[in-house]
């Protein structure tokens, strides 16, 4: 079966949906990659700093 034949009678809304999803995916990836260059304030410390600044996470820990 011709694979591309599947798209012959496809509803035009399909392409709108694909473009919309493509844009969402692109935005998602771009935001993720940009975030990678801006470490979070709640970021876990690098190992050395982590050891120095480790905190008791919750009061009911014990």
């Amino acid at each position: 079966m011709n694979f591309f034949k599947l798209f012959e009678n496809v509803d035009p809304n399909f392409y709108i949906a694909i473009i919309a999803i493509g844009i969402i995916l692109a935005v998602y990836l771009i935001v993720s990659v940009l975030a990678a260059f801006k470490p979070s304030k709640t970021r876990y410390f690098s190992d050395k700093k982590y050891l120095e600044k480790v905190v008791r996470a919750d009061k009911d820990f014990k």
Binding site: V10, F14, A17, I21, L25, S32, T42, D47, L51, V54
Partner: protein, 911 residues
């Protein structure tokens, strides 16, 4: 009246009844009490052991909580999750019979019930496995009691063997194994648990109690089960055992504690996201109800669906999987000689970042050798050893390593040294004044065959000097002058610098106390000399401490020994220290100074037990999660205070009782191995929680969007439940998964804030690819393969009518749902395998983990081609669909890898 309230009132009534009985026993003479239980001061006869066992019961606390297999089955079947599923099944049966819905049939209800059965069996198997692990491990932490019986004499036995009327010998460090009436005591102090669960330190004695209004805690001559002996010694008769003790009754009231603990652990692992998940589920339910209800008009079906959706999207197997991980962790730790007494202990150990240790056995070899027995001028003198022996041999308290070494030395020399000849039989003990950490000395009074009585005191040099007025040298007694004291102290200092621990020995002849001997009699003593011991430094400890440091744990040495010995040992094993902080210095410090000293220094010497606990508290106030490794009576306070109390199988009862972790070998290497294993367990739990929560969040968003965008629901309730069940079952293998070393070389902390962010970051990727799948299924696959004319669902009504339309619509929906079900399990499996490690290339999932993931994916893929699949509303998928799925999965994999890397760079770590 609620069950709990009624139970509490019943408990209070029982305790009052027991108190009345104990008060009665307390108001009679010891001999009357012994007679009541047919016992004597030499114990019970064999005959009465059996009679009393059948009359008063065994010394075992049978909690009200049913512990048999039947109760396990009951608790596995009757729980909230199953209840909701059963309600859904009933609802499904009713709707299927009342409404001729072509999509549903009673099989749906049967499948839901089958799921109830699968979950129940899983829970049952797991709870049996946890119990079996606990039972195996409990053998390592058994305690023994010193009892006396008429025929067999004194022997060490398990507490369960005790019967009412048994004579029990108690010394410092012991746990009181039953409710007992004291018949002989010497400075006997116990830490007594109150009904509220706190403990108070009280002295117990033989004294007679005529007062009929005293409370149980005020009964001076009764010691209660669960109390720990702080100092002194006593002989007592058991008057209540097992469930008839106050401890037993109180324990039964708290019988749900164990079950609660397991739930609490699971709760603590999920609590941060539970609220968020509930809010999201509530919003989603509302959106789906409104949109789907409006578009389909079938409110009843929609209501059923959103209930199933809420159940299906909640990680209900979470407590089970978390407990499985902990249970697996417990077994793995025990293989490394590290036994976790509770599941919480594993969590705490994995978070520990500061470890306080005592010196003996950790940085030393725990093998004390007597190097010298010297007179006051530093010459070898056998009399010092002889008197030291009499003190060590006849004291009935806990014999420590130095006592044992003295006795062993004398045993060796007995035949070759004339003055030691017959020493084991020549003397009879008259009295003793037990050791305590304030006096730091102990005394015994012995009488020889000629009738001469001697009081012999042994202990810390400075404490013996305080009570000595004279000194003996070459048979002459001379006044102990200040010059002589200085000379002695400088000799001791010299010995300390060589790493030798020094104890002084003093005596006085024919002491004349009024009544019994007491601390005040330790005066006007004649100093004989001192005994010097060497506990050789353990050379491997530097490497072991460095290993702990590399794994994010700061090690601090807290010892009761002198600063000189401590410095020597530190130098020998290579522990770096700026200065050694002593107990005296700590006493004079302000809170601020102490806080600074605790953080900046690693070696503390000459500490009292309370000072050790104070240092730990101070570190805790400075946000440290502190572990303490100790095995002596003097470590009890520190163990109680520490976040992670670590002890050994050879420790005193009280240390074992207070410990969270028990090492079968006192060694820092063993603890480090256990610590890494605990962190592995914690990483696997975090991994599971994060992945499941993010996966479920992604599915929730997808369903929400589908209910807005599609004219039908993307999955039926039963399909959603099947997807959730298969995925969660595959997750049980996480407990056996490999963990990257990078993830465990720093302390693990609960990840509340970061968990929510992980859920959103990763969940979104899954939703985007779900939407892509929806588009392909709705516009490409279903029009080409599900219906006879290539058109979308909404256009079907323009081309078909009546039954044909209904059949076409159903076929369309079935293929769509089968497609999303298959895509969902693949995205979940791919996410599981990629996100289980921060690494990209070296992804070394364990074999069980890998197999279970593939089995989960295969199960769903095969299901759509089976009769069972058609029963739950699925149809076979065409081959082109899989071409799309491969493409989607490749894109999803690339996306997830990119997002994973970005996430790690943004937040610092993945898991």
């Amino acid at each position: 009246m609620s069950y709990n309230k009624r139970k509490s009132l019943e408990t209070i009534a029982k305790i009052e009844q027991l108190t009345k009985k104990l008060r009665d026993l307390s108001s009679h003479e010891p001999d009357w009490v012994l007679q009541k239980f047919h016992s004597t001061r030499r114990g019970l006869s064999e005959k009465y052991v059996e009679i009393n066992r059948s009359r008063y019961g065994e010394n075992v606390i049978n909690s009200d909580r049913k512990t048999g297999i039947l109760s396990k089955i009951i608790s596995s079947v009757f729980n909230g999750y199953n209840l909701i599923l059963v309600v859904l099944a009933i609802f499904s049966f009713v709707t299927d019979h009342n409404f001729k819905n072509a999509e549903n049939n009673s099989i749906t209800g049967i499948i839901i019930l089958a799921m109830v059965a699968i979950c129940s069996i899983m829970r049952f198997i797991q709870s049996m496995s946890v119990d079996s692990t606990k039972n195996k491990l409990s053998k390592f932490i058994e305690m023994y009691v010193d009892i006396e019986r008429r025929e067999s004499g004194r022997e060490e036995t398990l507490p369960e063997e005790i019967v009412a009327g048994d004579i029990i010998h108690l010394v410092a460090g012991d746990m009181v194994p039953a409710d007992v009436r004291i018949i002989r005591a010497k400075d006997f102090f116990v830490s007594q648990p109150t009904i509220a669960g706190e403990t108070i330190d009280v002295e117990k004695c033989v004294c007679f109690n005529p007062n009929k209004n005293t409370t149980a805690a005020e009964l001076k001559n009764i010691a209660f089960m669960g109390s720990t002996v702080l100092s002194g010694s006593a002989v007592a008769v058991a008057v209540a055992v097992g469930n008839d003790t106050i401890f037993g009754v109180a324990s039964n009231n708290n019988s749900d504690q164990e079950a609660k603990e397991e739930n609490e652990i699971a709760q603590s692992a999920t609590e941060p996201v539970t609220k968020i998940l509930l809010i999201i589920i509530a919003i989603m339910m509302l959106v789906v109800l409104i949109f789907n209800g409006c578009t389909t008009g079938d409110w009843q079906d929609t209501l059923l669906y959103i209930i199933a959706m809420a159940v299906g999207l909640t990680p209900q197997m979470l407590p089970l999987i978390v407990t499985t991980c902990f249970s697996r962790g417990t077994v793995a730790m025990s293989e490394k000689k590290c036994i976790a007494k509770t599941l919480t202990a594993i969590k705490n150990l994995s978070s520990m970042n500061t470890l306080c240790i005592d010196k003996t056995g950790t940085v030393t070899q725990n093998k004390v050798a007597l190097s010298y027995h010297l007179d006051i001028h530093g010459n070898e003198e056998i009399r010092v050893l002889k008197h030291g022996f009499l003190n060590s041999f006849y004291q009935t308290g806990l014999k420590n390593l130095t006592d044992i070494e003295i006795i062993n030395q004398v045993k060796e020399l007995e035949n070759s040294e004339p003055s030691l000849e017959g020493i084991f039989t020549k003397y009879t003990k008259q009295d003793e004044i037990p050791f305590d950490f304030t006096r730091r000395r102990m005394s015994v009074v012995v009488k020889d065959q000629e009738g001469k009585t001697q009081m012999i005191t042994k202990g810390a040099v400075e404490k013996i000097l305080e009570i000595s007025r004279f000194a003996e040298y070459e048979g002459r007694v001379e006044p102990l002058t200040d010059e002589l004291k200085q000379e002695i102290l400088s000799t001791v200092k010299e010995l300390n610098h060589k790493g030798l621990k020094v104890l002084a020995v003093a005596q006085k002849t024919n002491p004349s106390p009024i009544g019994e001997f007491c601390v005040d009699d330790e005066a006007e003593m004649v100093l004989l000399g001192y005994l010097a011991f060497l506990d050789s430094p353990r050379t491997s400890s530097q490497k072991e401490i460095a290993r702990l440091n590399d794994n994010g744990v700061t090690v601090k040495l807290l010892t009761g020994d002198s600063a000189s010995i401590t410095k020597y040992v530190c130098r020998q094993v290579g522990i770096n220290y700026k200065t050694v902080i002593t107990g005296e210095q700590i006493e004079n410090m302000t809170q601020q100074e102490l806080s600074k000293a605790c953080l900046e220094n690693n070696v503390f010497a000459n500490l009292t037990p309370l000072q050790k606990a104070k240092i730990i508290e101070c570190l805790q106030e400075n946000k440290k999660i502190v572990g303490y490794l100790g095995d002596g009576i003097n470590d009890s306070e520190a163990l109680k205070t520490a976040d992670v109390a670590v002890s050994t199988t050879n420790a005193v009862d009280t240390a074992k009782e207070n410990a969270d972790i028990i090492l079968t070998e006192k060694n820092l290497r063993v603890l480090a191995d256990g610590l890494l294993q605990a962190r592995k367990t914690f990483v696997n739990i975090t991994k599971y929680v994060k992945l499941t929560v993010s996966s479920n969040f992604g599915n929730m968003l997808s369903i929400m969007f589908a209910s807005i965008l599609l004219p039908f629901l993307p999955m039926t309730s039963v399909q959603l439940l099947i997807l959730n069940l298969v995925y969660e079952l595959s997750c049980t293998a996480i407990a056996w998964d490999n963990v990257d070393m990078d993830l465990i070389h720093v302390p693990r902390l609960p990840t509340s804030r970061i968990l929510t962010k992980f859920m959103v970051w990763i969940g979104l990727a899954s939703t985007i690819f779900d939407l892509l799948t929806f588009a392909l299924l709705y516009y490409v696959i279903c029009p080409n393969f599900a219906v006879s004319s290539p058109t979308t669902f909404l256009n079907l009504q323009n081309l078909f009518s009546g039954n044909t339309l209904e059949l076409m619509q159903m076929s369309y929906k079935q293929m769509f749902r089968a497609g999303w079900l298959v895509e969902s399990i693949w995205t979940q499996v791919v996410a599981l395998l990629i996100l289980r490690t921060p690494k990209t290339m070296k992804n070394s999932a364990s074999v069980p983990m890998f197999i279970m993931s593939l089995v989960a994916a295969a199960t769903i893929n095969i299901l759509v081609y089976t009769n069972l699949g058609s029963v739950v509303g699925l149809v076979a998928l065409p081959i082109p669909f899989y071409i799309f799925i491969i493409g989607i999965m490749l894109m999803y994999t690339v996306t997830i890898v990119i997002v994973k890397k970005a996430y790690i760079r943004h937040y610092g770590r993945l898991i």
